[in-house]
């Protein structure tokens, strides 16, 4: 099925700009809180704030997709990317942790 880009009503401009900014801000908050907990700057229970940020990120992305009237396939791909982003900091932290242990055996941070 051919898909054509839809017109966006002027009233949707502000929610689009705000939600797209929040996509990045919540994305940063997720990675930031996750990291602060992992390096023991924040208590462990702040990990819930990290995951809440990720949830807000995914919600904002979904809302943004709706406002932009993206085609259904792209909507699914965007949500898939959000799942990937949930895993991403875990993977990076895991790799960095292993690397530190390999090159600095006394490092148990």
């Amino acid at each position: 099925m051919e898909y054509f880009m839809q017109d966006i009503p002027p009233g949707d401009f502000l929610p689009i700009f705000v939600s797209s900014a929040f996509v990045i801000i919540f994305g940063m908050a997720y990675a930031g809180f996750f990291t602060f907990v992992k390096i023991k700057v924040l208590p462990k229970y702040y990990i819930y704030v990290a995951y809440l940020s990720w949830f807000m990120l995914a919600a904002c992305m979904y809302y943004l997709g709706t406002l932009l009237r993206v085609e259904p396939y792209t909507e699914k791909v965007l949500m898939g990317a959000m799942v990937g982003y949930l895993i991403f900091p875990h993977a990076v932290f895991f790799i960095l942790q292993r690397l530190h242990e390999e090159f600095e055996p006394d490092s148990k941070n």
Partner: protein, 479 residues
Amino acid sequence: MWSSNARLYESQKIAVKYFTVAVALFGAQLLFGLIAAIQYLYPSFLFNTLDFSIARMVHINALVVWLLYAMIGSVYWLMPEETGIDVVGAKLANLAFYVLTAAVAVVVVVYIFVQVGPGNEMTTWLITEGREYIEAPRWADIGIVVVVLIFLGNVYATVIKAQKRTGIMTVLMADLLALAGLYLCGMFYTSNISVDQYWWWWVIHLWVEATWEVFVACVGGYMLMKTLGANRQVVEMWLWIEVAMMFGSGILGLGHHYFWIGTPEYWWEIGALFSALEPVPLVGLFVHVLYDWGKERGKGNNIKNTPAFAWLTVETFGNFLGAGVWGFMHTLPQINLYTHGTQWPAAHGHLAFFGAYAAILIGMFYMAVQGKHGIKEMRMSTATKWSISLITGGVLIMTVSLTLSAYVQTMVERGQFGATWEGYFISQAQVWFVQGLGWRLAAGLAVFVGFVLLVYDLITIAKKQKAVAAEAEAEAVPA
């Protein structure tokens, strides 16, 4: 500006020259930006003497050229430390520096005093090619290629001759080849503007969205090791992730602009998705910086150069805000249809260029000052703090002001009037639009004051550090 009392490699002496010209061009960029900002509010200012089109052209070309000067300087600075040997062709590198600087000076003088020509081959060859961001005339274009080939030749020959090759240098070699090669795409000239713009695209957009991002990742890695003592293996491992993601997301993410040049629609969706992923490497870099900081804090591992580290921090957040938040707000194709050509790209561009590139390269100026004067631990002076605050705060306010103007423009010109000339002029007269540009000018003045303090600091900080160190030493000696 640079008094010599520390032993430097020839390569680093060349780097200092590049940095010095970069600072001067940075000043020119800001000055012409101020003139253009005044002309936006008061169109008769310098009318028929230095028109807006020329002030804007010098403003954005000076930006690109000073960043390239600082990038070349950064490579010449870090290369001997990364390879263990001096640059192979120092004389040739020096010659190329003087040739490039003379050419840039001639081009700028022509821009200011000649400005426009009859719009034929002569204009293209001698005045300007008219391609935004890379408007050098054809003769200078060819000269730049020669100078860059000398630079590339020096980097490759030095690394090949050296016994050791670090990950940073390996990534840099690949990145510089792509960076230099892309410039050639901007040298095509066709009478079809769509085809011409297509080729132009590859230069500036793949520069900023791929090769420059990888470049600053390399320089950032070097600075993290030098200022924080970060583990090389960790930095280099992260560098490879950065390279893979930046090339992937940066190149495919370009598709979010393609509907302007008539490519198939699937490119829009590919571009939308991958441009959304562009901030991911930036978040990764942030994770890395925090991880290393958390690991090292409390172990007596002092930051070796606090001004450079402060600018690196500005880079991390500026990159995230400018390229990430402001980029994502308006670059998805569905919304870019309405924002393209308004003040949105200006808002995004000011913070992204500053955050992603200018900040880290200013940090490299401080690395060079430290190395030049042989200072083990360099601390921020009052001027450092004021210049960082004024420049960063100024750019942030400028970005927010432009965003407010852009929002009004998008709503009125594009949303209500459907991108007509009538809509354009009505939006330009909106009170919020004009007020936003007023705040932009005020913020620009703050940035310029910050720049003056930055230059003062770069000249004096080493002397002040030595005086403080000597005083402390004198106090430590028992009477």
